[in-house]
Symmetry: C2
Subunit: 364 residues, 2 copies
């Protein structure tokens, strides 16, 4: 019998999953075309629309993890020769560039140092200069803990004929992500961050403007599995069989979204902000600094410098072994230099922050 310890998950994801979600996950599997399940898919779409703050009809959960969500948007919105401006400020911006190139995009990149964010005017100027079809950017860069402001960007890009594609993997349900109000045309997320659902699904949403792009593609989508022209008919329309949906994972997402909406988005964002404030104050007392610029620190992903002389792996190993508590190491350019402390969804609590700060005080 499988022996799994109970952890407190304060890394970059997965985050702690509420018992209600685990219970939903374990309901009996039904057929993926069972009327009961089709109703559930409709409700998942309605709830995702509420969390993404959008009316977009093409809102659904891709049958893969967050990275599959990224790939879904690129394979559908890019064909050979599509011009893409990728804004790179960390690992996930780099990944978007890689994915876009594999789709045959002509890629132009804009970069800022890790931990920084872009000025909206700089992005718009680059779009004006290069006239891309698509501009891709990460809202909450999980490798640096930096929060990229997005308000105002979408309308400016639309004037230049570009669509705005946003990575909301880490931000969704932990801070405002206003797809319609901000003019976002395509966004993807993952279930295992602030939605506090196990990893395995990638919520996405596409604006009517983005759907129009899909509909006038010349080349077939290079991925059969992620081809939205077929996936959309399975999620709506005639329910044409495409692939077998991950039935139980969708039970879990349905429940996780229900919990988010019961709490209310504003209350949930405030809870994340409060946990972040408590953590930041406590870390300051320990002399631990953030890597992201002040004023641009994500509430749910606290990327901090490892204090000098500290053994990164030894501390994380003791946190896990002695306290059952997981935090994340650095990624990419920050490997060995950073810790990434998640305050995501169900885990963003005073109890968890207090435990972590106490444990760090003991260990450092």
């Amino acid at each position: 019998m499988l022996s799994i310890p109970e952890r407190v998950l304060m890394g970059p994801g997965p985050s702690d999953v509420p018992a209600r979600v685990l219970e939903a996950l374990s309901r009996p599997t039904v057929g993926h075309l069972d009327p009961v399940f089709l109703t559930l898919m409709d409700e998942v779409r309605d709830r995702l629309q509420a969390v993404f703050q959008t009316q977009n009809e093409m809102t659904l959960a891709v049958s893969g993890t967050g990275s599959a969500g990224m790939e879904t948007l690129f394979v559908n919105l890019v064909e050979p020769g599509t011009r893409v401006l990728v804004c790179k400020q960390g690992v996930f911006g780099n990944r978007m560039e890689d994915v876009a190139r594999r789709c045959g995009a002509e890629v132009v990149t804009l970069e800022v140092p890790w931990g920084s964010v872009f000025e909206t005017s700089a992005i718009v100027a680059a779009a004006d200069a290069h006239r891309p079809d698509l501009v891709a950017i990460v809202h909450a860069e999980t490798s640096t803990g930096a929060h990229q402001p997005l308000a105002g960007l979408g309308p400016a890009l639309h004037e230049l004929g570009a669509l705005l594609l946003v990575d909301c993997v880490t931000s969704l349900a932990g801070m405002p992500v206003e797809v319609d109000a901000w003019g976002i045309d395509a966004a993807y997320s993952g279930t295992q961050k602030c939605l506090s659902c196990p990893p395995g699904l990638a919520p996405i949403t596409l604006s009517p403007r983005a759907v129009e792009r899909l509909e006038r593609r010349a080349a077939p989508v290079q991925s059969w599995y992620l081809d939205l022209s077929m996936v959309r008919n399975y999620w709506g329309g005639d329910r044409a069989y495409h692939h077998t949906a991950p039935v139980n994972m969708l039970y879990a997402l349905h429940e996780a979204l229900g919990i988010v909406l019961e709490e209310g988005l504003e209350a949930r964002f405030a809870r994340h902000a409060a946990a972040h404030d408590q953590l930041r104050a406590g870390l300051a007392e320990l002399g631990i600094d953030y890597l992201a610029a002040p004023g641009h620190q994500l509430p749910m992903l606290n990327a901090v410098s490892i204090p000098e002389g500290t053994d990164d792996k030894a501390v994380r190993r003791r946190l896990l072994a002695d306290y059952g508590l997981e935090i994340g190491g650095g990624l990419g350019a920050f490997a060995g230099r950073a810790w990434r402390i998640g305050l995501m969804g169900h885990a963003a609590t005073r109890r968890n922050v207090t435990l972590l700060l106490s444990a760090l005080r003991d260990l450092l």
Copy 2:
């Protein structure tokens, strides 16, 4: 709270999931790089090797459903100009052709009428004529219920310089799939058929010969998410972060594979065969015929002609509403003409067959 009815799943998948697997699914989520989880991934690989009857080191579960397994093998083994011979005898052969073309393959197809299977000699002759790099075939065609014999094919293709790629989505763990003994170079399956695990993962295995092909590719793999050069390092080697594994789904697969191996492959195959014999005899009494040729009928997927004058949808609706019992409709060319009765994994029991036959007797 999510209200999910208990069904008896006798369609083309998902199949009934044992309580032990549902329970494993609902264990607390841990980090995807937690030592406990890495050990579990190793055990999943060991168990998959046992079920695939292979020593292949590159054996793992792709983070998507069975169709993602298909796509994984094609995107990794095909690059523009790779010559692929696709054997088509139903929906899933057609799908392989579509996927191969999207990868830039030069595709040649070989076809037999739906419900038939290929003679090994015909495939070898076509391979001799066209000299493909890869030959793709479905072992258990879920749309027709036909069982394609594979013994002897691999070695003959190897002599011609071709790799053998096999779809084992429906057959794995329900009838012999001897990857090493049969000389299969690449195989994929799904969790929701005879493994009796919820849908969401795609077990795959690649022979050293196939891995060598991957290693001397010229072009990058067009899918980032499914690129085995990175996925393999996450499943073994240096455990480099690629994407976040579907943690809870892997708990479930671990348990489902444990159940398969506790029962023993031979006993499990015999149970499927016995349930099939009982069903076939009962259907014969009702005057219901199989679509696949005699001697080539799959034990776990019984595709049968709908008796003349019977209202397909009405019968299936009543089976579901009055008996809580799901069977599948026809797919593709057999839509409206066929029922597909699954006897997969946990569901291949005398109890289920008896229930279905009694219900059909009442309804017809």
